[in-house]
């Protein structure tokens, strides 16, 4: 009897995460294209982007680096380092959210409110929605941290931290995209 070929497949949960990321990409793709369409129609308010967004970009890139550090530490079974690295990422993510909030404050100081010209509203929606997804990422980070404390994350059990790392890199990449998009279209 002939043997049928094994089908190509990857880890179903990792694959689910990638598809989840695709749907988030579509949300932001549609909102940023709506931004471009609306901007091209005129009646557009022009103002400076808050300084805070530069700092939050740096913070989010740093957190991505520490997340990668945690991943490598897990691969090398360096359990104490995983704890530190995931903890630092968690702290940085909270700093990011605070800096984003300060950024909103700077917008308000410039008389750019959520309610008003869509130019301003869009910035609140884009940053707010990103922060919402980042908050989901924080929940994921906390889950990983708990598993780490229970010694459940190591080189033989990488799925969870690998998915968390993927999602975290996506979130920071998404913010960098949004920041550059707003910068270039300002």
């Amino acid at each position: 009897m002939e043997t049928p070929a094994q089908v190509l497949s990857m880890h179903p949960r990792k694959f689910l995460l990638w598809l989840f990321i695709v749907s988030i990409v579509m949300i932001f793709a549609s909102l940023t294209s709506a931004y471009v369409v609306k901007q091209s129609e005129g009646a557009w308010l022009i103002f400076d982007l808050p300084q805070a967004f530069i700092y939050s970009s740096i913070v989010v890139l740093l957190s991505s680096a520490t997340m990668q550090w945690a991943y490598w530490a897990a691969k090398k079974d360096n359990l104490s380092q995983i704890k530190i690295a995931v903890g630092v990422t968690l702290a940085l993510s909270l700093v990011f959210l605070i800096v984003q909030y300060l950024g909103w404050g700077q917008l308000v100081d410039q008389q750019v409110f959520f309610v008003g010209n869509p130019a301003g509203s869009f910035i609140y929606v884009l940053t707010g929605l990103h922060a919402f997804h980042l908050a989901a990422g924080i929940v994921f980070l906390i889950i990983v941290l708990i598993s780490t404390l229970r010694f459940k994350v190591h080189s033989k059990s990488m799925t969870q931290i690998e998915m968390c790392t993927t999602f975290w890199h996506f979130l920071s990449g998404l913010w960098i995209y949004l920041y550059l998009f707003l910068l270039l279209n300002n």
């Binding site: 070929a5 549609s30 869509p118």
Partner: protein
């Protein structure tokens, strides 16, 4: 009689006991918060049927208004209460709510959740050879988000200001300003909340379907051995993952405009001479976002039906599907094109005529893959040993609607013609045939075809034939005249036409349509009886009632959790080996190895065996 029933129950109980030796599931785990794809599929199906009854019932109420404008509807007061005016007429604002809710329910709850939710869930694991979905838990969440969405939408019928009334597309500013009309108040808010739950449900479902199809196929089930049903469900889920997030964006900005006072879609609006503070927005922006989902949505509705039809027509013609790869390519073509045609819904929105002609061109290209599909169905039927099961009749009905409704799509895709016909009953006739009735018939074909696998029993064929003929003839009698009504200039969603002299000649035709609609709707109760009665009392189904090749017919009569009792079958061939020359039977299921069928192997299959260097003897026997 009673002994048979007892025996049956024992048998089912035995099956279940066997499958859950290690862990007895209680009632809630098994039937309510189940993570088994088959149970979730049935939940979607039954919820979809209930919504179809509600959605269909709403259409009968507004058809009464259109067909018999002077009729005294006082007898509806027990159901509609104050929506019947003191003169016995339907309240004109409630009429708008009726058409809005009819569209929303049919498009989203019946033909998206009821169709994809049922058959993707039921057939994907069974036909690709998987124990269950990639994530049973997310699958369960998908159903319950849909359920919550339905509950919220249902509640909106019972609030004082009535449900959303701005049409199923809920264009702002009508939908964005609570003061614009009664239905734009709380009803609209509930509509948006329900849709957000629905989007989450669709995404969870779609992500699961795609993951399962790609990663959980059994050994040997390559992409080009997948049944066309699976290809269709797979691409439907891909469309959903890419387009529903965009509807989410559109709805989110609408929520902000309605409840927080932003101006994404609003600008320069005066109410009672007073200017609203909103400046700088654009209602056209909403149309772009909405139709970026809205157009792919019609393919989300029709593709699963086309997949089911491919399977049913090939099985009951006892012939391989004509042009298997062409069928896949046309599905892919439709999937890709579905994302670049949305602005053909916006030819009258002030769209630049240059852009309009680009979208017109892309729209007309969709006729090519659609025609490929129609021709392949016809050529599969051509000289087949056709067996007219009810499922087969409904599939052929689908092909008929797909052609007659598709033809008018070519008219409407032309911007010059569309500008004249936009928002008339011509459009209503077009999409009810090509999308509404066609996918409804696909869903019916699926139910009749897979009922034996879902419930282990057979439906009654005779009742199926009566149901088919009444529905098939009824649908044409309802929707064909609407073309003429549309060409005469009747606009959609108007409460009454009695005040227009130009429309007097068509009063009889409208009455005729309403009578046909009532008969067609009544015919569905034959189906309901056939369906629910035979779940409990039907003749027990044989293992493979239609002589079909796909893997689901290798499972036990009522598959338990995990689908196959032993190992998952491996797959050695494509799913369309019907009437293969030399074979003793007119079908060879996918799990039969080539080495067991030397008498019917084709030259390329003999080569394939030789390359593997096994059973050359058997291969030689095949050659002789």
């Amino acid at each position: 009689m009673s002994t048979t029933a007892v025996h049956t129950n024992e048998h089912i109980g035995h099956d279940d006991a066997h499958d859950h030796e290690h862990h007895e599931l209680n009632f809630v785990e098994k039937y309510i918060f189940s993570t088994d794809h088959k149970t979730i599929a049935k939940q979607f199906l039954i919820t979809g049927i209930i919504w179809a009854l509600i959605g269909g019932g709403l259409s009968i109420i507004f058809r009464l208004q259109l067909g018999f404008p002077d009729m005294n509807l006082e007898w509806l007061r027990p159901i509609l209460g104050k929506w019947i005016t003191s003169t016995g007429q339907i309240d004109s604002e409630f009429y708008l709510a009726l058409v809005t809710m009819h569209g929303t329910i049919m498009v989203f709850f019946v033909l998206t959740a009821g169709l994809s939710g049922t058959f993707s869930n039921f057939l994907i694991p069974l036909q690709i050879g998987a124990r269950d979905m990639a994530s049973g838990f997310l699958n369960m969440l998908s159903y319950w988000f849909f359920f919550v969405s339905g509950v919220v939408m249902f509640i909106s019928f019972f609030i004082e200001t009535g449900p959303a009334s701005a049409g199923w597309t809920v264009y702002p500013p009508l939908s964005a300003l609570p003061t614009a009309m009664q239905g734009s108040g709380l009803g609209m808010t509930l509509w948006l909340v329900a849709m957000v739950f629905f989007i989450v449900s669709s995404l969870l479902g779609g992500i699961n379907y795609v993951t399962t199809v790609i990663n959980l196929r059994t050994q040997g089930m390559s992409f080009f051995r997948l049944p066309l049903t699976i290809w269709a469900f797979f691409l439907t889920a891909v469309i959903g993952i890419l387009s529903f997030p965009v509807l989410f964006s559109a709805a989110l900005l609408l929520v902000f405009d309605r409840s927080f006072g932003t101006s994404f879609y609003l600008s320069d609006i005066y109410i009672g001479g007073e200017a609203l503070p909103n400046v700088g927005g654009s209602p056209i922006l909403y149309q772009h976002l909405f139709w970026f989902l809205g157009h792919p949505e019609v393919y989300i509705v029709i593709l699963p039906a086309l997949g089911i039809t491919s399977e049913v027509i090939a099985t009951n013609s006892r012939k391989p599907i004509f042009g298997y790869k062409a069928m896949i390519l046309s599905l892919l073509g439709i999937t890709i094109l579905s994302f670049v045609v949305w602005a053909h819904h916006m030819f009258v929105s002030g769209l630049s005529p240059f852009l309009g002609s680009i979208f017109m061109f892309l729209t007309l290209i969709i006729a090519v893959p659609s025609a490929v599909k129609a021709f392949n169905y016809l050529t599969t039927l051509w000289r087949g040993n056709i067996i007219f099961t009810p499922a087969m009749l409904f599939s052929i009905g689908l092909v008929s609607f797909f052609i007659s409704g598709g033809l008018t799509g070519i008219f409407l895709g032309n911007s010059a013609v569309d500008i004249n016909l936009h928002d008339t009953y011509f459009v209503v006739a077009h999409f009810h045939l090509v999308m509404g009735s066609a996918s409804f018939f696909g869903m019916m074909a699926g139910i009749y075809h897979w009922f034996p696998k879902m419930f282990g029993r057979m439906m009654n064929d005779k009742l199926g034939y009566i149901h088919f003929w009444l529905t098939f003839v009824g649908v044409y009698l309802v929707f064909f005249p609407l073309h003429y009504i549309g060409m005469a200039g009747f606009p959609r969603r108007y409460y009454s036409f009695t005040n227009f002299d130009a429309f007097q000649d068509f009063t009889d035709l409208n009455t005729f349509v309403s009578v046909a609609a009532i008969i067609t709707f009544s015919a569905q109760f034959i189906f309901l009886f056939n369906f629910f009665y035979n779940i409990f009392r039907g003749r027990k189904a044989p293992a493979n009632p239609w002589g079909s090749n796909t893997l689901e017919w290798t499972t036990p009569r009522v598959p338990g959790h995990g689908n196959w009792e032993g190992d998952i079958p491996k797959v050695y061939r494509w799913p369309y080996d019907y009437s293969k020359p030399g074979a003793p039977e007119d079908f060879i299921p996918q799990h039969i190895p080539l080495t067991e069928t030397p008498e019917s192997n084709l030259p390329h299959e003999v080569e394939q065996l030789k390359e593997e260097g096994i059973e050359v003897k058997a291969a030689n026997a095949g050659k002789s």
